[in-house]
């Protein structure tokens, strides 16, 4: 049984200019212990699809799907309070901006322990011990001391480690990482990716990696979904995607990598996209709103 199964997911936002379709009929499934990468540029709806799974979209969004099931539970039928018992515990998410996604008013330790209190019902001493264990697991030096640090006292890489600690605190079955390394340096990126993939293998989690970086895909994924303007362009295992990309869009993405530059100019997406782009209601400024 797949861990997460989505059929024909559509998300639209009500805007002044009528509904804007951010996700148009995406199918997706992930098995336990699998690393799935979703690739696409900003505005391709890759984050929105996952936020719909988490139930984190604002009221202006309308989510429709034929099926959206996690571990056999139908997410569409759940009441908000039932959903809150799953989200953060069995499915958890890491966001792009580590410093912005932590609450600046509370210490790292408090924010890790909050999840443990809510979902696991641990007492104070157990929470403390588990928080220290988690901090060690994600590779933070002096965990006892760092528990009392506020987000602004830590570097971006350390904040992202704290975010990962919060996300894996309750041993989730599925971890969704939304551009986890985009805001970080290459050397730190490498460490965080190694950490994520290591944790995934150690605890047998499913991992969904949302990214626009083909290098990150190549380094982490088993299977890849390429998305463009809210639609799925291609789905393949990682090797065949890089060896024989089927859609023109994937080919364009791969050739836009600076290391693949032939001659003086980099090919861009518009140079390469011969097949007519799927019709989308909004372009230009609307893409910024969706990301």
């Amino acid at each position: 049984m797949p861990l997460l199964e989505i059929k024909n997911l559509t998300v639209s936002f009500d805007t002044a200019a009528g509904p804007f379709m951010a996700v148009q009929g995406i199918d997706l499934s992930i098995e336990p212990r699998e690393v799935l990468a979703i690739v696409g540029e900003s505005g391709s709806g890759k984050s929105v699809a996952m936020l719909a799974v988490m139930g984190l979209l604002p009221n202006t969004a309308t989510v429709k799907a034929d099926r959206m099931a996690f571990d056999g539970i139908d997410l569409l039928e759940l009441s908000p309070s039932e959903r809150r018992k799953i989200v953060g515990k069995d499915i958890s998410m890491i966001f792009q901006e580590p410093i912005a996604s932590l609450n600046p008013c509370f210490t790292a330790g408090f924010q890790i322990e909050e999840v443990l209190r809510f979902h696991m019902g641990m007492d104070r001493a157990q929470r403390r011990a588990r928080a220290i264990e988690l901090m060690k697991l994600v590779g933070i030096a002096d965990p006892e001391e760092r528990l009392n640090s506020f987000p602004h006292q830590m570097s971006g890489g350390q904040c992202q480690r704290v975010m990962i600690a919060i996300a894996i605190a309750c041993n989730p079955k599925l971890l969704i990482a939304d551009e986890p390394t985009t805001a970080l340096d290459v050397t730190i990126q490498k460490q965080i990716l190694d950490l994520l993939v290591g944790l995934q293998a150690k605890y047998g989690m499913g991992l969904i990696m949302i990214t626009h970086n083909m290098g990150v895909v190549a380094e982490t994924a088993d299977r890849v979904i390429v998305q463009y303007k809210g639609r799925k362009m291609e789905e393949a295992d990682v090797l065949s995607l890089f060896e024989q990309p089927k859609s023109n869009y994937t080919r364009a993405l791969l050739s836009a990598l600076p290391e693949n530059a032939v001659g003086d100019r980099l090919p861009t997406i518009s140079d390469m996209l011969f097949e007519p782009a799927p019709s989308a209601a909004g372009t230009g400024s609307a893409t910024g709103a969706a990301s």
Partner: protein, 276 residues
């Protein structure tokens, strides 16, 4: 013959962190004696992790902050803004494009005014000429005259970075400092902006100082590469030298950390995973 546009000799920059009642003040050595030179029409890339002093160096080269010690020559002329201040003539020679196109444009200023402002401050070009020049520059960077009266929030990230580049070019500078100009952009948009920069360099014979932490971008655009680590230049040479034979251990770490997107390395990774 090649002409040296920019030369730095032993540039040092210290910051004094003020102490409190019970805390002594400290000195942070952000840049510890860096030397470099760039010829006309060439690109020097400065690579390093965050906090290694590359943006501090960019601010010194752009004549925003003075260096604590060392000499800076622009077009063969020694510049010391700590002593002599900054003349309008010098400001016309050096311009900068910042990393975040969302933060570097004033949200209350129309694009036309953004582009006219450098001319308004540094020259006495009349208003109608400023307008013409701004229109022409918009076309150069791939935007249209219809964008003249729009506000920054109406543009995507890539378009905003084009506007920031256009603003930097309004005064016909000879030296352009690019502080991580594409790191906030998507892969496909990044390719467009890099192409634009290459085209503009050819057209105006611009000299670039390109700051980045993305080695694949550096490999594409740079002629010379300088790797900085904790305020020091640990490696400096032509692109091919540095990429073919990195000497310093930090450079090697940097190369090892860059994700590789070729089929061979994916195969290697999958094989390793299977074995584990």
């Amino acid at each position: 013959m090649s002409v040296t546009v920019l030369e730095g000799k032993n540039i040092v920059r210290d910051y004094h962190v003020g102490g409190g009642l019970f805390r002594p003040s400290r000195t942070v050595h952000a840049v510890k004696g860096v030397s470099f030179s760039v010829d006309k029409g060439k690109t020097l890339a400065i690579v390093g992790e965050s906090g290694c002093g590359k943006s501090t160096l960019a601010r010194i080269i752009t004549l925003i902050d003075p260096a604590t010690a060392g000499e800076l020559f622009i077009d063969g002329k020694k510049v010391d803004i700590a002593k002599d201040g900054l003349s309008k003539e010098m400001r016309r020679k050096v311009q900068i494009v910042f990393q975040n196109p969302y933060g570097s444009l004033n949200p209350r200023q129309k694009i036309g005014d953004v582009l006219g402002e450098p001319l308004l401050i540094n020259t006495d070009t009349p208003a109608n000429e400023r307008r013409d020049l701004a229109m022409r520059m918009l076309k150069k960077v791939g935007l249209g005259p219809e964008h003249y009266n729009r506000y920054p929030h109406m543009f995507s990230g890539g378009q905003r970075q084009r506007i920031a580049i256009a603003r930097a070019l309004m005064l016909n500078p000879s030296l352009l400092v690019l502080d991580e100009p594409v790191s906030a952009l998507d892969l496909s948009v990044q390719a467009q902006v890099l192409n634009l920069l290459a085209d503009l360099q050819d057209e105006f014979k611009l000299t670039y100082v390109f700051i980045s932490h993305d080695l694949s971008v550096v490999r594409y655009i740079a002629d010379d590469v300088m790797v900085m680590y904790y305020g020091e230049a640990v490696e400096y040479g032509s692109r091919d030298e540095v990429f073919a034979d990195p000497k310093h251990s930090y450079t090697k770490t940097l190369f090892a950390a860059t994700p590789r997107a070729d089929v061979a390395s994916i195969k290697a990774r999958l094989a390793k995973k299977k074995a584990a």
